[in-house]
Amino acid sequence: MISSFAWRNLWRNKLRSFVIITAVTLGIFAGIFLMAFMNGMVNDRVQTIIGTEISHIQIHRPGFMDSDLFTLRIANADSVVNVVNKIPGVSAATKRIVINSMAASAETGTGVKITGIDPENEKKVTSLYTKIIEGRYLDATGKNPIVIGETLAKKLKVGLKNKIIITVQDVNNNITGGAFRVVGIYRTDNNMFDEANVYVRNSDISALSGLDGKEAHEVAILLNNNDATEAAGKAVAACFPQLEVKDWLKISPEAGYLVSAMDQYMYIFMVVILLALCFGIINTMLMVIMERVRELGMLMAIGMNKLKVFMMIMLETVFLSLTGGVLGIVGGYFVTRYFEHAGINLYFWKEAFASMGYSAMVYPVIEPGTMIIVTIMVIVTGIFSSLYPAYKALKLNPSQAIRS
């Protein structure tokens, strides 16, 4: 009956309850949607890092990642790829030759990372082929084709069919060079990546460097999902104890920090929203107590003990918070689900987003666990907000309150 009493009390002053419930609803809705928005941005960034830039797991000779030494090559990379492809959780694997070098056009030159790929296998591991905005992706046709990023193309002032001179080290430690013709220009959401990475066929760069075609600096592995990273990483490492196996969190620790830091920021943001709402709720409940002094005095006079008075005030406050909270959470959920499919296009700030490596198309994502945590936070806020008003109610003297 105390809970029924508290619920009915909530609707005594409908306008006042409506105002504070609306405030809570909007606050929680904004918090949920912002969390989903930021989560979507971060997820997209992480998926871009994995899908375009580094994949889930990479295998190298020990020391290669720190030094990029040309000589630190995996001798029989094809057999490594074959073994990896049989490990549970692995979607695909491919070998790469990776050389930090110089690329020069007729106008200018710059340092780039040349990645020699097997075009068909690379398609299974990274989404580079989907990022082509001009020309075509690498295939078996043509002599020394190269795919470069849009930003690099602008920097080198080259376009399709133009030549780029690549200077590399060969197996005899001599400097050698080759002319590559631009067949495709790609664009990812990361300008810095586009400026620094060019792609050629593995066979072409092997021939230029004097490699036998079986060697590679890197084996890149795509998994079925991010959750399989740890288990698959251990399985791969167990197969190749002499090689260095690193997952995306170790290769790109900033991606991992981004996920955990964003989670923390979002919860801090939600706490700030709830704290602001908390004061609104306390104010409302203090008004409620002031208006009902005589009734509270009567209740205490007829035998309602302090615990029950406290419970009644606390339940009223929690109901007030939870009504707004649930509406905000449900609203936030459905709006998020809509934009999860439709996306939010922030093309006005496309360049700014791209310079930071983010896509201007954001697909907000909300996890069920987040909804549960936010619901708990709302209930805790309700309980916390009730403490001072309930204390004020308990301090009332029944004989004075009745005559107020």
Partner: protein, 227 residues
């Protein structure tokens, strides 16, 4: 044994400059089944007296026994529990819970006592019929007249089967017809069910119905007349 026994009661409030002697040495015994009115001018100390007898206030000096139990000096929690089980309150401003129906207002005190649902419903129905509101059980206070609200308050006061009913100016907000009606019900309950009533009042119609009238002035009993 008296239902209410007041011994050497004093209550002094701290005034702005001088102490205020609200009750200044009162000794009263009220027996079961009495229908007693406490009268006196404003500021005479009758409300303070009723508050102390009702366990809502603590005296500066003296003792109050209810059915042999000394209630002065009990802790706040013990007093709350004692009030719930032993004293029925009727207030000047009715003080019903506006979000509850008449039935729920009466039932609430039984709920506080932890009575089972069947007993709560039976007792509530009996009491509301006894005060002539059997057909208004589902009405909220704002749909009832002042007299009807006060009758619900009487039914609520009786719900816990208290040792006596303490009524602080119960007719002050009622018109003549409602006052007569309420007094008739309370007299009937007193006569037929031997329920003890203790009123404070200014109302001569209540005084004329009371079988004992205690007059207080300046915190002391100046007359105690049994009719």
């Amino acid at each position: 044994m008296s239902i209410i026994e007041i011994k050497g009661l004093h209550k002094v409030y701290d005034g702005k400059s001088l102490p205020v002697y609200a009750v200044n040495g009162i000794d009263i015994k009220i027996e079961a089944g009495e229908f007693t009115a406490v009268v006196g001018p404003s500021g005479s100390g009758k409300t303070t007296l009723l508050n102390i007898v009702g366990g809502l206030d603590e005296p500066t000096e003296g003792e109050v026994f209810i059915d042999g139990v000394k209630i002065t000096g009990l802790s706040g929690k013990e007093k709350t529990d004692f009030r719930m089980k032993n004293i029925g309150f009727v207030f000047q401003a009715y003080n019903l819970i506006p979000v509850f129906t008449a039935k729920e207002n009466v039932e609430f005190i039984l709920h506080l006592q932890g009575k089972p649902k069947a007993e709560r419903e039976r007792r509530t129905k009996e009491l509301l019929e006894a005060v002539g509101l059997g057909d208004r059980m589902d009405s909220r206070p704002n749909k009832l007249s002042g007299g009807q609200q006060q009758r619900v308050a009487v039914a609520r006061a009786l719900a816990s089967k208290p040792k006596f009913i303490l009524a602080d100016e119960p007719t002050a907000n009622l018109d003549s017809k409602s006052t007569d009606n309420l007094l008739e019900i309370m007299e009937k309950l007193n006569r037929e069910e031997n329920i003890t009533f203790l009123f404070s009042t200014h109302d001569q119609r209540v005084v004329s119905k009371a079988r004992r009238v205690i007059t207080i002035q300046d915190g002391v009993v100046v007359s105690d007349i049994r009719k």
